[in-house]
Each structure stands twice: as structure tokens, then as C-alpha cells.
Symmetry: C2
């Protein structure tokens, strides 16, 4: 694998899981040293992250972007537009088979979630596979690109709902409803069920998320951190 890809994936993972907090300044030389590659692939990775909206490259050094509560609300507005459309298209066009499989897996989700922490990974695998199945069924490359972008940012929020099993159980039910609507080829219902799911999800996210995702509580006057 190319060094630039490794650099990109490493940095992206660190931004998504919060080990690189918002406000962190990523400097080319510094990251090149840390990642054991030269500046060239790091530059490329930082440009990519900037295109993703995960860092802000204006000026000197790339700064990891913050996700304010307003940003989360805005992200969900976009998700609603995109995912409702995607669900509707999937209901119209999609092949039933993958959704049948996902339905079965979703029916087992409450058991998974009852296991606590170890069940979370397989649970989120189901949700991710559902996203992929809808994206595939919608058969629209432009929509797919836009969906991947919002999924990227949504991943930064997900870690807050990880510790809310009650919400996850409810979400599993909402996902099931979406799958049923797609299987019934009811585009309108699929769209509305998605709308409902995102509304509940946003409510939970805003209730769970701190003022600004990942922003350090200590030392706001310390200026940007350099990692």
C-alpha cells in the first residue's frame, strides 16, 4: 500500500475516534516524522482530509475541525435529505435479497445489545451493512459519494451513543422498520421511516454530546495544540 494512503487512513482514524482532538494542529514535518514517511505523502493525506472536511487547511498547518452542536444539527439535516432519498430509491429499485439477510440479522440485534460492550461491534456491523445495502440499491454514484461523506462525519458522533444501550435498542427497531418498508417496495414509507429514525437519532446525539465534540474542557486559552 502507498505511504500516502497509510498516512491518510492513520490520520483519518485518529480524527474519527477522537485521539486527535478538534483544534489539534497537524504540521507536515511533525506528522511525517511521527508516521515515518516524508512530507510528500503527508501533504497528500492532509489535502484529502481537508477535502473530507475533517481538517481545516486554511493558513499554516491543518487544524482538526470541531463539531459544534449546530454542526451536528446541520449534518443531520443533510443526512435526512440524502438518506430519505436513498431509502426511497432503494425501495423502488433494490434487490430484496440483501435486505432479507439484514432483516434477519436485525431481529437478533436485541440479543447482541443485551451482551453489553462485546455486542456493539457486530451490532454496528449490521447498521453499516444496511447503509451499504441501501447505497448499493439506490444505484446512484453521486448519491453514494454524498452518503459516504456524511457517514464519515457521522462516525465522529457515533461514539457518544455507544454507551446508551436503550437508544441502540430503539434504533435497531427503527432500522428494522426501514428495511421492512424497502422490502415492501414502499418508497414513501421508507423515506418517512428514515426521517423518523434520524429525528430520534439527532435528539439523542444532542442530548449526549458535549458542547463541542471532543473539545477539551481544560485550557481553552492555551491556543491550538500541536500534535
Amino acid at each position: 500500500m502507498r505511504a500516502s494512503d497509510r498516512a491518510y487512513r492513520t490520520l483519518r482514524t485518529e480524527v474519527l475516534d477522537g485521539s486527535l482532538e478538534p483544534g489539534t494542529v497537524l504540521q507536515e514535518v511533525e506528522q511525517a516524522t511521527r508516521l515515518g514517511v516524508s512530507r510528500t505523502p503527508v501533504r497528500e493525506a492532509l489535502r484529502q482530509l481537508a477535502a473530507d472536511g475533517l481538517v481545516d487547511a486554511s493558513g499554516r498547518g491543518a487544524v482538526v475541525t470541531a463539531l459544534s452542536r449546530d454542526d451536528i444539527a446541520a449534518l443531520y439535516e443533510l443526512r435526512e435529505a440524502l438518506e430519505a432519498k436513498a431509502a426511497a430509491l432503494a425501495a423502488q429499485r433494490g434487490d430484496a435479497v440483501p435486505f432479507l439477510l439484514i432483516r434477519d440479522r436485525l431481529l437478533g440485534a436485541p440479543q447482541l445489545l443485551a451482551q453489553g460492550e462485546p455486542g456493539l461491534v457486530p451490532y454496528f456491523d449490521i447498521v453499516d451493512d444496511l447503509d451499504d445495502a441501501i447505497e448499493e440499491a439506490a444505484a446512484n454514484p453521486f448519491l453514494a459519494t454524498a452518503l459516504r461523506s456524511v457517514q464519515l462525519h457521522s462516525a465522529r458522533i457515533r461514539r457518544f451513543s455507544r454507551h446508551n444501550p436503550e437508544r441502540l435498542r430503539a434504533a435497531a427497531g427503527e432500522h428494522l422498520l426501514i428495511v421492512e418498508a424497502i422490502l415492501a417496495r414502499d418508497a414513501e414509507l421508507a423515506s418517512q421511516a428514515t426521517h423518523v429514525h434520524l429525528h430520534m437519532s439527532l435528539t439523542n446525539a444532542l442530548a449526549t454530546a458535549p458542547g463541542t465534540v471532543g473539545e477539551a474542557d481544560e485550557g481553552t486559552a492555551l491556543g491550538p495544540r500541536v500534535a
Copy 2:
């Protein structure tokens, strides 16, 4: 301005206006020579174009992407989801002033279009300013990013409607309806008016566009061209 920005803008303009046709292979050394810069900024520009979806960078050399009729339909599906949402948000949140100004300008659009070719630039300026005003009024940075992406691809299609004054006059009326809905703070109407406009626009685009936008009719067996 940075050399990489100049390279990016030059290449992007050439892709959008069709002077670099789909299938054209853009090689780093070649473009570096042509644009009078080194490979480094060209690499950056090509990466950016790939992120935009204007070139396909898989494998060796970046290939200018084609826009099939299916792609155009898919693009309009995404536009509908995004622009309907944006118009609705603009109706809910937007400041009326910019839309009042645009309404006045749109009322003069038929006169502009009656001038033929010289009126086209100011006409499309009005449309672009309306897009910007809606984007601004929607006050959603994620939606704004997605909108800019579809506008980029839409620009590749626009040159087909340039020579259809009748359609442009109708489109001006549809835009006016959207503006009126936003001014009336009627989110549902703004959304539906956008839906209608895009439906008509797509119908026209598919009627006007060749099988694959910009694809050479001669020599499909010649393999990719190198520019």
C-alpha cells in the same frame, strides 16, 4: 496565487467546458510541461479533480470522467434531494433582502434572453446568484459542500441548454416561482417548486444531451487519448 491552485482551476475549467473531453488521459509530466509548473502542483490538482469526481485516478494517469445519460439522471436525483431541502431551509431561515433583489433581476430575464447569445452570461449570473443565495440562506455548511459538488457537475451539462432559448425562458419562470415561495416563507412550496424545476430541467437535458456527454463519436476503438 499558488501554482497548484492555478493548475487546478485551469484543468477544471477545461474539463467543465469540454475542451478536455471525457476519456482524455491527463499525465503528470505532460500536464506539468503544458501548464509550465512542476509535477508537484499538478499532482495536487489531479488529486483535487479526482475528489471532485471530474477525473478518475484509478490506475495510471487520470482519466477525464464521462457523463452518460444515466449519470445525468442520477445527478438530478441527487440535485433534487439537496436543492429541495436547501430551498425549504432557505424559506424557513433566509433573509428576504437578497431574494427580493434576485426577484427583480429574474423579472428582467425574458428581456435578457430575447437578446440571444450576449444575454446568456448575465442570465446565468442571475441563476448562479440564486443558487448562492439559497446556499447562504440555508445556513448549513455540510449541505453547502454537497451543493457545490452537484453544481460542479451540473456545469458540465449546462452548455447543452445554452442553445435552447425557449427552455431558458421557462426555467426563468420556474426560478421565479422558487424565489416567490422563499419570500412567502412557504418551505413546502419552495421544495415542490424546486422539484418541478429540476424535473423540467432534466427532461430538457436528456432530450438535448448526446448519448454520452463529450464522448467522441469518431474512433471509440482508438483507446484513450493523451492530451
